[in-house]
Structures are given as C-alpha cells and as structure tokens.
Amino acid sequence: MNRSLRPSLRAARPLAVLGVAATLLAAGCSSGGSGTAPGDPANGGTPQQGGSVTFAMPPNATPNWIFPIATPGHTQAYNGTIRQQVFLPLYVYDGTDTSKPDVKAGAAELPKYSEDGKSVTITMKDDLTWANGEKVTARDVEFWFNLIKANKEKWATYNEGQFPDNIAKFTLVDDKTFTMDLTQAYNPDWFTANQLTRMSPMPQKAWDIQEAGGQVGDYDRTPEGAKKVFDYLIGEAGKLSEYATNPLWKVADGPFTIKEFTTTGQVTLAKNPKYTGEDAAHLDTVTLKPFTSAQAELNVLRSGGVDYGYLPALALSQQKTIESMGYKVEPWDGWAITYIPYNFNNPEMGPVFKQLYIRQAVQMSVDQDTIARVIWHDQATPGYGPVPQVPPGSYLGEKQKTNPYLFDLDKAKALLTSHGWEIQNGVATCTRPGGGDDQCGEGVEQGTQLKFQLLTESGSTETDNTMQELQSSLSKIGIALSIKSEPLNSVLDHSPVCKPEEAACSWQLSFFGTQGSWYYPAYPSGEDIFAGDAGTNLGSYSDPKADELVKASTSSTSPTAMQDYSSYLAENLPVIWMPNPAYQVSAIKKTLGGVVQDPMAGMTPQRWYLVK
C-alpha cells in the first residue's frame, strides 16, 4: 500500500530548478548508446522491435512547450526531453560521460575550434532529413540563430554576455558547414557543453513564415522579419492542444513525433517513420504520464501500470515488493549539487557570513555522512564543493575530493571562541569586535548574537529531518537556527538576489534542494551561480579570486582550470555544502532494456527496447 500517506506534499518537485538543467540541456542529453546492452543477463532475453512503454513523470511535471526556443515559463525539464526527440539539437550530452557530446543523438558532427579558441566550425550530419524530405542544413541553424539574435530578450535561457552576445559573426561556409567567430577565446569544453547545446536547427523551408498561411521566405535575415517570424511561431507554439495535429510540428528530424499531447500533461511519442539518422527508435510509442503526487505514482506502479516509474525515498522499504513484481530498483544520480546559500547582503547577518571562519565552523557542524545514511537512507551523496561529487571525473579538484571540513563540533566551537565569541545562554555572542586575528571580524558589532534564520522547502520528511539535524548540531556550537518551511516556489520567491537596503533582503539562509539545488550542464562551471554578478548567485557571494577562477574555467583552455575552481570554492565555502539527493529512485520493468539513467536528467527513449 501506499506508504507515504502524507499527501502530495512531496509533490512539488523543483521543476523550476530543474528548468535550469532543462533549458541548458534543451538540446538535451542522451546516452552514448551504452546502457543495458542487448542480451544483458539482467534482462535475459532478446531485444524486440516495436512495442509501447509508459514512463512516469515526477509529480506536477506538466509539459507545455514543443518549440525549440523556450520562452519564460516553458522551461520545465520534460519540455526539453520531449522536444529533443522531435527536433534534434545540435549537440546532446549524456551525464555518464560529460567529457564529450553524444554525437549519435545530435544533429552535427563534433565541432572544430581554431587554435586560439576564438572561432568554431561545425559540420551538419550528412544523413539527416526533415519529415518533408528536405535535408537538415547549416541554413537551418542560421534560421535558429537569426531568430534568437532578434528576439533574445524573449528567450528564457538568455543571459547577458552569453549566447548570442558572444558570437561576433555567423558565416555559412557551404550547405552543410558554418563558422562562428567568438568575441573572445573560450574554453572549448565549456563552449560546446554550455553554449552549443542550446542551438537547434529548425526547418527553415517550412517555418520561415510571417503569418498564418503566408509564403515561406528568407524573412529571418532581417531583424524585423525575424521578429515577425518569431512571433508567429511562438503564437502557434502556445496552442498546446494542436501539438499533435499542427502541420508545422510535423516537420520533425528526430526519432519520434508527437502523437498525443494533452493539457493535463500526458504526452505520447510515436516512432518517426521518416527519420533517416542512425539513432532510430526501437519502440513504437512511448507515453509520458503525469502524476499529481508521488504516492499516486506509487499506487499505479504497484498495480504495474507504468514500465518506468520511481519510488519516493521514504518508500524504499517497499523495494522488495516492487522488485518481486518484475521491476529493478535503481537510484538515478543527479549531475547536481545541493547547498544552502548564505545571504551575504542580509543587513543583520551579512557581516557575520562574510567571515570565513564562521562559514568553516558551520560547515564542520554538518554531519553529512550520517545525514545521508540515516535520513536519506543512502539515497544522497555527501558533497564538498561546487562540482558534482559523483560520478567522479576530471573536473573535481584535489581539495574537493575529500571533505576539507570534516564533521567536528569541538573544532567548530573552538573556531568561534578563538575569534572572540562567548556562549551566553546557549548563543554565541561577540565580545571582541574588530578585524584582528582573535576578533570577531570586520563589520561584526559587539554583542552580535549568532542567530540564523533558515527558509526551507516543505513537504519532504527527509528535508525536514535534515534541517532539524542541522539545527541540533549548530545549537551545540552556540548558533541558534530558526527554521521556517514553505512550499518550494515560495522559498524561491522569498530568497531573491538583493541589495542590503531592500526589504526582500531579509532572508538569511535558504534551502531548495530536496531533489538537488542545481543541475549542471555537462561542464559544471559556476558562471551562473558563484560568479559575483551571476543571475542565480542568490546570496550575492563575491570573491575576486573566485570570479577569476570562474572566468578561467569558461575562457582559458587550461585543463586544470576547473580543478582549481573546484578546490578553491570547496575551501572558501560560498554556501553550506549539503548531501546531494538522487534525482529519483527508479523502478524499471525488467523487460525494458537500453535504459541509461542520465545524471543530467535527460532521456534517450529511442534506445529503449523490450525484451522477450
């Protein structure tokens, strides 16, 4: 039976947060074709062609967009997953190997960068065609680029200075090839993983239209024309109920087409008979089912109603039951980090948070191993820095590989007392203000008390308990933590990037990571979260050296740039590092093969197959 009766409280998955991944992955992620090999002993059968599979989407995931350019409010994770099956992005990554794109799943061959890293040349694949018979050409990419360039502020993924601002010139070389001159040198890994993945060829010969019933032209080549074309296409994209019928969306180049797309969020993908690439679908249809709550999904799973579903973490005690019903249960690790940002601009606690020794004391009070084991039932991995801890790769710095701040309450307390804090009535109080080595630090006034306020996401017992544990250990070193829980969206509403004088800056600490705080694109650099001017640097962390290292990680070609960045932030603690929960604990029918649980939360259903 349904184990967690606590209703849909767990429902709100951080779609918004995943949205980050989604758009960056918009192009999507897909596997290198590895996965469960046919004839896998676990499956013990022979792969079949054809058949149908049902996949359970997370609670409240309601896909609502199909057009390859997402406007704000349309960045939910599953929009990207669905779109990349129909309209192939230029490049797709699979999080099990973040070092290079999964070429088979994308629309182009590997990019070639110039020696100086200031230009990139890309050749489209030879064998891809649109459903109307036209070849997929470089012109189709230019069409996408022109629309983005003229309408960038309406593009949900636009960040000033990044794509398309960092492209000085887009040149068509021939039918299949184009070159982009960049405004500066970039790290090729970063540029491919975090910028090129956003590009997606669109059928210019079918979509370059300014109004309903209009003629196809080269309108996108003038900014005014590009605006009109964009508005027309966005208008059509808003008609969700026509996704399965509108002739525009029939011009697909991916392994699937849309067969059903309901307003409640159910989507059925059907094998695209006109697909000409080498990554054709094995299955006839794949249905993505929406659920209002995790326990609703669990009930359906228990009745065998989905082939690929998930278990809420608390329901792990049911693993045996589920397995006996012909499923295998596997955690789906996320290419993500989980953390609690400090609001360095909070007028009361900002000066306190700016003291590194305070952040060190706090970090030493987080018993990550026990939290992961007892509270998360081993479905979370301790994290020590800005790069996802698993799977371990070449991006992890030395300092982040092992925990630089081991759980040690005595040491944590000593850090406070040696800096002029005295515990009075259980709360540390500053008795020696000033900037000296044994003093509280710059800006911390005499009599300041270490009383922190934390906003946290409601609806998850694991998260509630993690915060209680944190509160308990902090209280042992003299820090009083008061907790307020709110729905995820409210937490995000209430912890914006802010200036000290703004009323919105009253938040001090904020947690929104029940399913991971931040999902990375393949290259886990920090320009969006830890750079001083980053849009999602919620706590306004600002450190010149960190800024330098972030910049180096995106623009220098040095292979150690990421490691240096990882090591420095692991020690400098821009946030409280917390254990990173699995994306989900999946239950996959044993008769379903070819599944790769992509840590970047993408899917490659074209490679799934049924075994007999």
């Binding site: 039976m1 184990r3 967690s4 009766l5 606590r6 409280l9 608390l314 005690s317 049911q318 018993d367 026990t370 939290i371 007892v374 509270i375 306020q453 409601s458 609806g459 017992t461 509630d464 308990n465 915060m467 209680q468 544990e469 509160q471 308990s472 250990s473 209280s475 042992k476 008061s482 907790i483 307020k484 829980s485 709110e486 409210s490 209430h494």
Partner: protein
C-alpha cells in the same frame, strides 16, 4: 425542558443569587460525560506540564544514532522518533504546544466573536448589516486558504499560530452572540436602562455580554476543541510550529509516513492524545450547555 428530566424547571422559585450557579455546578457534576471530560483534561494537563519533571528528556537535540528505536529500548518507554528523540517526552512538549495554542486561540476567537456579535446585535441597523456581511464573507472563504496565506507571511511560532487560528475562527461565536444580543436588546431591563440614559458601551458590556454568557462559555469550550483540531490540520499541511518545537498534529503526520515500517509508536500515541483532548473539551462543553440551559430556564 426535556423528556427524560421531568419538569426540570422548578421555575417559580425565586432562588437566592447564588442559587442558579450552585444548581448549575450540581447539574454539571451529575453529568457523567462532563465529569469524565473534566478528569481526562486534568490528567492530560498534568501529563503535559508536570510530566517532563518526572520524565526529563532532551527535546532540543537530535540523536541520529538512536533513530526509530522501538519502545523499551535504551530507556525510551515509547521508543524514539526518526531523528532519535524520546517519543514519550516529545508527546509531553507537543501536548504543551497543542494545548497552549488550542486554548488561547479558542478563547481569542470567542473574545473577538463575542464583542463583534454583541455590538452588531445590539446596535442593529446598517452597522449590524455591514458587520454581519463581513462575517458571512469570512465564513465563505475556506479557513485553509487563510491559513495557507498567513503561513507564508508569518514565521510559525506559538504566538503567531494563536493569532492566526484565533482570527480565522471567531465567525461562529460572532453569529451566535449576535442572535442572543438581538433577543436581549428587546428585553425589558435593557430597554429600561436605555431609557434611563445608560451608555451604549455600558449596555453592551454590562448587560448584553453577561446575559449571553451561557452561550459564550459553552461555545468557548467547543472553540477550544476545534482549535486543537485545527492546529493538527495546520501541522499536517506542513504549516505548523517550527522545530525543535512540535505539536501532536505534527507528530502524527510525521509518523504517518512510517505506517508501513511498523513504527506504530510514532502514530498512535499522538493520534490518541488528540482524540482524548478534543473529546474531553467536547464533553465538558456538552455538560456546561445542559447546566446553562437549566439556569436560563430558571430565570
């Protein structure tokens, strides 16, 4: 007034001033359910507020190494919860919160409702019309919505919970008292006082409210019972008091997540405690109502 208590209205006797009250007390104590309720409540109060002296536990710190221990293990008579706190001790502090919020919020609601209803009923006319439309509107909005919104504005402490719950549940007493006030207004003694030039404030506070006291007191008991239940719902929806504090509703809804692990000690003690305390208040209220009805009849 009822079939089973034949002619309870020994009406014409001009009783001495204390008479009706003494009678009431006697009647109340003759009501077996009411007495049971009173005894139950006394026991629960003792358990929650004196219990921690007898069974001191650490309810501030978590003890992950000792999570989910079964009753009896390591000196925990009722086991431990999912972060290793002693459940028996937690039941005591949780009960303190539930009772404090419930009683205070119930009384607050009664207070607001009584004054609102008395003023509206006594004044009548357009003021009454406006005041009662506000009450109607308040009744028409699900309390849950108000609770959800307030929870995003205020930090959930015992005080804010009292204020919020008190402010969403004063509507029913307001209607009851207004009805009472309407009928009292036309009574001779109020009319007489008005004729002698008494102030309106005096009329409301010296005459209307004291004479509606029966309705008010009985309703207050039920309000407290309902407020305790409401506290439980609020916690169930994840909007309850912040940890390390807790209340019975929060304990119950947290325990429900572990139903299929067989951790019954996380569910039933808190659930039964809620049922006992709410029933106790309802029994007392019922007994009081019977007593007051007799007194009114006697007047």
């Amino acid at each position: 007034m009822t079939a089973s208590v034949p002619s309870p209205v020994v009406a014409a006797q001009p009783a001495p001033v204390v008479g009706p009250y003494r009678r009431m007390v006697r009647l109340f104590f003759a009501n077996r359910l009411a007495v049971t309720g009173l005894v139950l409540l006394a026991l629960l109060l003792l358990f929650c507020f004196v219990g921690p002296l007898v069974h001191p536990t650490d309810q501030i710190h978590t003890q992950l190494a000792d999570a989910n221990l079964a009753p009896g293990v390591k000196g925990h008579p009722l086991g431990t919860d999912d972060v290793g706190r002693d459940v028996l001790g937690r039941l005591m502090v949780g009960g303190q919160t539930s009772l404090e919020i419930g009683i205070a919020a119930g009384l607050l609601a009664t207070l607001i409702g009584t004054v609102w209803g008395a003023v509206a009923g006594y004044t009548g006319g357009w003021l009454d019309a406006i005041m009662m439309r506000v009450v109607d509107a308040g009744i028409a909005i699900p309390a849950l919505f108000l609770l959800l919104v307030s929870a995003t504005i205020f930090r959930p402490t015992v005080t804010t919970q009292i204020l919020i719950i008190g402010c969403v549940s004063w509507l029913v007493p307001a209607r009851l008292v207004r009805a009472e006030a309407l009928s009292l207004r036309s009574r001779d003694f109020v009319q007489a006082m008005m004729a002698m030039g008494g102030s309106h404030r005096r009329a409301v506070f010296r005459h209307i409210i004291p004479n509606a006291i029966g309705t008010v007191v009985v309703n207050a008991t039920f309000q407290v019972a309902d407020a305790i239940l409401l506290v439980a719902y609020v916690s169930f929806l994840g909007l309850g008091v912040a940890p390390p504090a807790t209340d019975w509703g929060a304990m119950l809804s947290n325990g429900i997540s572990y139903t299929y692990d067989g951790y019954w000690w996380l569910i039933f003690p808190a659930g039964i405690a809620i049922i006992l305390v709410v029933s106790a208040f309802n029994c007392i209220g019922d007994g009081l109502r019977d007593s007051f009805e007799v007194r009114l009849q006697g007047r």
